[in-house]
């Protein structure tokens, strides 16, 4: 097993969920200490089929169904990681992470610190998150701010199939615990040519999705395509929007954000999480702290609302930001 970065030659058109499946297969193939487990990940291949076919290929030792208990899925993974394995746990939906929060807050992020690096915890916890697909109660939550607030854990949220594969392999190879949140809306909605074989996309490096010199839109995950749509609408009005896909929240690539804001002087931050205390506030605070001199307008947030995510099909879409709301925020900062 080598960590060399051989430039991939061939590529295949894949959805995001297929790219994730490919990354998991490559990780299991390359490193026999890698294990994949969770509720329904084995026989069924996951409720979204992210682990489809992996149990058949790697066996029931390496890819297995656990009892239904998130605290123990995370807790057991912590023990496996301590003992030298590379556990990849799936929490069926990010909104069902909560039974495991004690393990996450009390232990997951602390082992390196409390053993003075004697132990590291190379664990990845994958979970689908976010709305836009009319799921029942609690299936559409975006708890990334809660996770990002835990010291010692990283948080990754891809928005394209190519990124999903490369970031997931980077997360699996990372020596520290990583949350890998996958926007349910994106699982099958976008396809692209994804390099075959092993490659990584480094954690902590944002991606500039569209370039522009008037407004910076900072976002991630399911809100990237929404923001790009808004940017296209703005371009029709002669406004140049630079959309930045953060890709990782922890560590955050502040440099890319600040460079962009220095150029544009305006920032809009877009997430689908509730507004109060969200990660958008963290991004906004950083821009205010480090780029106040370049700002020509207040930083605006476009977010979900301070209510539980509504499972009411008829009005669910009111909650989740759409391109119209983002475009309006862009116009507002332009007209300030």
């Amino acid at each position: 097993m080598t960590a060399t970065q051989t430039p991939p030659t061939a590529s295949t058109t894949r959805t995001m969920v297929a790219a994730i499946n490919d990354a998991l297969a490559i990780a299991l193939e390359r490193d026999p200490t890698t294990y994949l487990f969770g509720e329904d990940v084995g026989v069924m291949g996951g409720v979204f089929r992210a682990s489809d076919g992996l149990q058949a290929r790697f066996g029931t030792d390496r890819v297995f169904d656990t009892p239904l208990a998130e605290a123990s899925i995370v807790g057991m993974g912590i023990g496996m990681g301590l003992a030298g394995l590379r556990p990849i746990a799936e929490i069926q939906f990010a909104g069902f992470m909560y039974p495991a929060l004690d393990q996450i807050l009390s232990h997951l992020g602390r082992y390196r610190h409390r053993t003075r690096s004697r132990y590291s915890l190379p664990m990845v916890i994958r979970a689908p998150y976010g709305g836009g697909v009319h799921t029942p109660e609690q299936h559409a939550d975006s708890p990334e701010a809660i996770l990002a607030h835990v010291p010692g854990v990283k948080v990754v949220i891809p928005s394209t199939p190519t990124d999903a594969k490369g970031l997931l392999l980077a997360a699996i190879e990372d020596p520290d615990p990583v949350f890998f949140l996958e926007a349910i809306k994106l699982y099958r909605s976008n396809k692209e040519s994804v390099p075959d074989g092993h490659y990584t996309v480094p954690l902590g490096k944002a991606r500039i999705v569209t370039e522009g010199s008037d407004v910076t839109v900072v976002t991630y995950g399911g809100m990237v395509e929404v923001s790009v749509k808004a940017a296209e609408a703005a371009r029709a009005h002669g406004i140049g929007v630079e959309v930045i896909d953060l890709r990782t929240l922890v560590p955050m690539d502040l440099e890319t954000v600040l460079n962009s804001v220095a150029k544009t002087g305006r920032a809009v931050v877009v997430t689908e999480a509730p507004r109060t205390g969200g990660f958008h506030s963290e991004i906004s605070a950083n821009i205010a702290e480090h780029a106040i001199d370049s700002l020509r307008a207040p930083i605006l947030r476009v977010t979900g609302y301070d209510a539980p995510y509504p499972p009411f099909t008829a009005i669910e879409d009111v909650y989740r930001p759409n391109a119209v709301r983002v475009a309006r925020a862009i116009r507002t900062v332009m007209g300030y």
């Binding site: 026989v43 009892p67 239904l68 039974p99 029942p136 301070d306 209510a307 009411f312």
Partner: protein
């Protein structure tokens, strides 16, 4: 020292051990049964009154109708995704029918039938599975909570509600449902322990329907008798044939009576089967074969009781047909009522977050109204 074999899951006492139930007998491995799968009753004197038998039959028919019509309505876009419960009617009716409307019911998404049995109106239930907020307004005369989606988390709530009733000096009890999968969660175990330690009048119904989505019970746990888990918490555990509504009812009624009399909680494992898919949108062929399900259709709880009632003359072919007609009419009337419920307004997503909306919510409401005004 207790010999290991004494606490293993393989010892199989006879169902007679149930007669010791009030004195905290260990759960038996053979599920308690009053009606054999062919509808015969080896011990007719042990059966509940004919009126009760007929009423249990009526409830099972009524919720089966809901389940069957639900599939059709789903396929024609008139109902959202819902988890069917076909085959589990004996388990849901037999347990919920032992309560009164003064008691608490904490149902999971699977327990539409139990909630209907206790009196949740069909129209509201349809509204719930249409993802309408009208399905979340529970009737004032019932203490039924909206179906719980996060698994096991309502178990400690039921203990709290039971304890509150006890402290208030009522005889009311709380009943909470869970699946075999859900009984792996920590909340399940903590709730059983709390209820035992605090002597809460709580009845825990563990519907062992063989599957947690794609995971069979044997992958879920090495235990084969989930009722025995009660032993670890010092409370009675009873294993009952969940497809035998008479047995399920009798065991539950006894547990409810014990709880009302101040004798504390009971865990009841109803051994049953999920005949259909996990939800109407699930594809069970990915994880189970016909061989896995074979035999369960023959254990159908409704057919079993029907054969018995016909043989006893408690039901006739004619009265059965009249019952089905009445049930179908009731359902269609409720469906019509549900059709009159208006779709929610956009700003409703911000309703009911706090008793008084915060300044942020007031501002966000104005924002939504501006939003949809365009």
């Amino acid at each position: 020292m207790t010999k290991l074999s004494a606490i293993s899951n393989t010892a199989a006492p006879t169902p007679d051990a149930l007669t010791d139930f009030p004195r905290h007998a260990p759960a038996t491995d053979i599920p308690f049964q009053l009606l054999a799968p062919d509808g015969t009753a080896p011990n007719p004197d042990a059966l509940p009154d004919p009126q009760i038998r007929l009423s249990l039959y009526r409830h099972m028919r009524r919720i089966r109708h809901f389940d069957e019509r639900g599939w059709v309505l789903y396929r024609t876009g008139r109902l959202g995704v819902f988890p069917p419960f076909k085959g589990m009617e004996g388990s849901q009716v037999g347990t919920a029918a032992a309560l009164t409307s003064d008691d608490w019911l904490f149902p999971t998404y699977r327990d539409t039938g139990a909630a209907l049995t206790l009196g949740l109106p069909i129209a509201r239930t349809l509204a719930y599975w249409r993802t309408s907020p009208h399905g979340w307004h529970m009737p004032e005369h019932l203490k039924v909570l909206p179906f719980y989606i996060p698994i096991a988390t309502q178990y400690p709530h039921a203990v709290g509600a039971a304890l509150a009733e006890q402290r208030k000096g009522t005889k009311n009890v709380a009943m909470a449902y869970i699946g075999d999968g859900g009984s792996s969660e920590g909340d399940f175990h903590e709730a059983l322990n709390f209820a035992g330690a605090l002597n809460a009048p709580c009845i825990f119904i563990l519907q062992n329907n063989g599957w947690a989505i794609s995971v069979p019970t044997r992958t879920q746990t090495r235990a084969v008798n989930l009722a025995r888990r009660a032993d670890g918490y010092g409370i009675p555990g009873v294993r009952v044939d969940g497809n035998d509504v008479l047995a399920t009812y009798q065991v539950t009624a006894e547990a409810v009576a014990r709880a009302r009399a101040g004798q504390g909680p009971t865990l009841i494992e109803t051994v049953t089967y999920r005949i259909a898919a996990h939800t109407v949108a699930d594809d069970p062929t990915r994880y189970r074969t016909d061989a896995d399900t074979a035999g369960w259709a023959e254990k159908d709880p409704i057919t079993r009781l029907r054969v018995h009632l016909l043989a006893e003359g408690i039901l006739t072919e004619d009265s059965d047909a009249a019952l089905l007609k009445e049930i179908a009419e009731e359902f269609e009337a409720a469906l019509n009522e549900a059709d009159t419920y208006p779709e929610p307004e956009p700003a409703e997503i911000l309703d009911h977050v706090f008793a008084e909306p915060t300044p942020q919510l007031v501002a966000q409401r104005a924002e939504i109204l501006r939003e949809v005004g365009e």
